[in-house]
Every structure is written in C-alpha cells, then in structure tokens.
C-alpha cells in the first residue's frame, strides 16, 4: 500500500516551489511545510504520477496543468455557518453595530466555494441589512469562484447546514432560501446580486478596498508564521477602524504584530480593531 506512493523529498519541494514562482509567479514558499507536503503527495496519487520528475515536467511544460495543481494543493473545504456560535455572535453583537453604517462592505478572503459568503448574506438579510451591503468573495482559485456566481451547493449538505443555521440563531425555515433540483440546492438570486467574486492571492496581491468585516477562516493555518503575519498586516490595512476580523476556530492573531491594536470578542475568534 504505502510503498507504491511516492513521497516527495524536502529538496524536491524546494525545487518545485522555485519553479512555480519563477515561471508563474505563484509563491508557495511561505506555506506551512507539513500540510503542503501532504497536499503534494496527494497529487501523486490522484494524478497517478510515477515520479517527482514527471510532476516537475508537467509543471514546466504544461501551463494548463497549473490551475489544477493550484486547486488541488490548496484546500477548498468549507461549509455553511461553520462554528455556529461565531455566526450567533455576529448576529447579536456585530450586525447591530454595522446597522448604523450607510453602506456595509465585507471581504471573505480565501472563501473557497463560497458557503460562508452565502451564510453571511442570509444573516444580513435577516437583519434587514442586505440591501445596503456588498460581499467581496475572493480566492486563489478561479474555478471555485465560479461556484459562487452559480450559488449551487450539494443538496446532501443541507441537513447539516440547516442544523448549523438554527444553532447560529436562525429562526426561519432554512429550506426557503434555496430550490432543490436533483442533487443540488440553488440559492436565491437576490443573494448573488450582492456579491462580487474575484481571484485574489493573499501572498502576492494587495489590499483593494476598506471593509467593516473581513472573514478569513481556516486559510492562515496553511501558512507559516511569517506569512501569517504578512497576511494579517494586509487585513489590518484593509479594515476600517472599529472593523472586525473573523478567523477560524483554532486560529489566533496573538503571535502577530497587529495584535496590540485589536481586542477579542468574548471567546469567539472575532477581533475588533480599536486603533
């Protein structure tokens, strides 16, 4: 079993990352090495690559392989109302503050297929704020961005999402928000009309607006500490004073240099910019 799976060596990873950067401008050198290595090893299995040389050859000579490589190496797992208590806190403590703004801008950085963006749009609608909100959804992968524009998610997940929704303080019938068709749930067009989806690489792209909330959940875990710090600084530059930054359940900004300007809400992974 084990023996026929190629295990990539550290120096081979260095060679590969160098190639990706030199040739295509994708910089993975600041990714946490242990999980990056796992993702690359997984590529050998799913693409049936016999050797590292084969992978390197593909990367060098087949530019069309690159989007696939980036998509498979990055992790695109997400769900609606993940960690419901976070969304409950946003409902109860964050949205009432945002309600006073004439216009609300939210950035979902590294949003993958967009389940979280739709969750937030539902929250905004229930708080009667969606009409004056814009949700910017960005990800490294172009293909997952397409999914946001469609608003279609697997029907099999809806039971779980509905439970999460209720735990987040949702009072409505969750199934009213989508139409079921075959194995898919299509969310109402009115949500999509408030979203702007685009590719954005947190490693190399800059701030593009100022927001009242930035979501970046379970993205920083794939970065090493230096890159985490760099990305948190990018968020700091993109967040209005008194704006909110929402991270994943096991992520923390305490190691970063921006931490001193923020205060944490309760025990949730929500920080408010106070300076």
């Amino acid at each position: 079993m084990k023996s026929d799976v190629t295990i990539i060596k550290d120096e081979e990873i260095d060679l590969l990352l160098n190639e990706l950067f030199e040739r295509y401008g994708y910089d993975f050198t600041g990714y946490a090495r242990a999980s990056l290595k796992r993702r690359i090893n997984r590529l050998f299995v799913i693409d049936r690559l016999p050797s590292f040389a084969e992978l390197l050859y593909k990367v060098r000579s087949q530019p069309e392989y690159l989007p696939h490589f980036v998509e498979e190496v990055s992790v695109n797992v997400t769900e609606m109302f993940r960690d419901p208590s976070t969304f409950k806190t946003i409902r109860e403590e964050v949205l009432p503050v945002l309600a006073t703004h004439p216009f609300i801008r939210i950035w979902h950085a590294g949003c993958a297929s967009g389940e979280e963006v739709y969750s937030m749009a539902i929250l905004l609608e229930e708080a009667n704020l969606l009409h004056k909100s814009l949700l910017y959804a960005t990800d490294l992968n172009a293909s997952v961005i397409e999914n946001i524009k469609k608003g279609i998610f697997p029907l099999s997940q809806m039971k779980q999402y509905s439970e999460n929704y209720i735990l987040s303080g949702g009072k409505k019938q969750f199934s009213d928000y989508y139409t079921a068709k075959y194995d898919w749930a299509k969310f109402d067009e009115r949500f999509k009309s408030k979203m702007i989806a685009a590719t954005h690489n947190l490693v190399s792209d800059r701030s593009f607006n100022e927001f009242q909330i930035i979501f970046c959940r379970n993205v920083l875990i794939y970065f090493d500490k230096a890159l985490q710090d760099k990305v948190l600084t990018l968020f700091d530059d993109s967040l209005e004073k008194l704006g909110y930054l929402v991270l994943g359940a096991k992520e923390n900004m305490r190691f970063s240099k921006i931490a001193k300007n923020y205060t944490q809400l309760d025990k949730e992974k929500i920080w408010r910019k106070i300076k």
């Binding site: 079993m1 946490a32 090495r33 242990a34 796992r38 992790v75 500490k225 096991k250 923390n252």
Partner: protein, 189 residues
C-alpha cells in the same frame, strides 16, 4: 529550540471504545521525563473541550487542545482539535489542516502519526487503541519504518478490535499489549 529538549514524542490514537484505556494511560504518564504526548481521538465536534477537561483532572501536566502554530513543548499533553488534522512542523510547531477526511475521520490518526514519524523519527512512540475503522494502521507503520516504537492494543482486549487488527495486519506493531500492560507501560519505561 524546545523541540530538541523533547526526549520522546508519544502519539496515541484511538476511536470507538478507546476512552477507558486513554484515561488509565494518562493517569500513569511520567510527568517530568521531557516527553510530549499527543492524543488523536475520533469524536463528535460538539464535544469540544470536554476531553481536555476530563484528562486534566488525571494528570498534573497541562492538557490542551491544539491551536494553529502552537509550539510543541515537553511535559505537555496535546489533543487534536475536532474537525482538523493535526500535523507537526519540523521547526517544532503544530499546524492544523482542515482538508478532506481520511477514513471518514478528521482528525485522522494516520495524518498525525505519519507527520510525527516524519519530524521526530525514531524518537516517536506510537500507540494505537480500540476502534472501528482502519485509521492509524498506515501511520503506525510509518513510525515503525522510521525506527520508532509501536504499540498496538491486543485486539482480544480491545472493545472494538478492528483498528488494532488492521495495524497488526500491516505489520505495524512492535509490541501487542493488553490493557493493563498499556496503562503500566510508562510506569516501567
């Protein structure tokens, strides 16, 4: 670097039916041996910090659910958080990963065991307990292949035999021990 102070990295994996042995084992773990203990237990994500709470009443060592990029310290017990894979970075930090489930499990025992073998090599001790799926067997084999010590709960003594059986089939076990032998293992170590 704290990583260099760690004499042994003990990774314990368990699923259905493993809790009782884990509780017994944790009570007997040496406290000042400069060992680091990591627990990967399959469980529901809503039982969040309950396990850490139960375990901390049985040992004077700090018991914590891992946060991303936390430093790996000796004389600590770390628990893989629900819904994340737990990995070890070479520079002595933990990384979390929320990628696809392995053997329907996240955290996956295989992922942590393989990562431990990779970054701690022969210093690693892997212990695989009761469970109903094949998670952990490959990872335990990886520890053995790197020269680490591997212990499998005797399937006859395990509440659910399947997981330890898989490890034995893969020739991943250096020792097959009964429950009381596992619990006492570190007392005589």
């Amino acid at each position: 670097m704290e990583k260099d102070k760690i004499k042994r990295l003990v990774v314990i994996g368990g699923s259905a039916g493993s809790l009782e042995v884990i509780l017994g084992l944790v009570s007997g773990l040496p406290v000042n041996a400069d060992f680091t203990y990591i627990l990967v237990v399959h469980r529901k994500s809503d039982s969040d910090s309950l396990l850490a709470h139960i375990l901390s009443s049985r040992t004077p060592m700090p018991v914590c659910e891992v946060e991303d990029k936390e430093e790996i310290l000796p004389n600590h017990i770390y628990i893989a958080p629900p819904d994340y894979h737990l990995l070890l970075e070479n520079e002595g930090l933990f990384s979390l990963d929320s990628s696809e489930k392995i053997h329907h499990s996240r955290p996956s025992i295989d992922v942590t065991f393989e990562s431990a073998a990779e970054s701690f090599g022969a210093k690693t001790i892997g212990i695989l307990l009761s469970g109903a799926n094949a998670d952990g067997a490959m990872g335990l084999r990886a520890i053995k292949d790197k020269g680490g010590l591997t212990i499998v709960q005797n399937p006859a003594a395990a509440e659910v035999a399947f997981m330890p059986e898989q490890a034995i089939k893969m020739d991943a076990a250096k020792q097959i021990l009964d429950n009381s032998e596992i619990i006492d293992f570190f007392k005589n170590y």
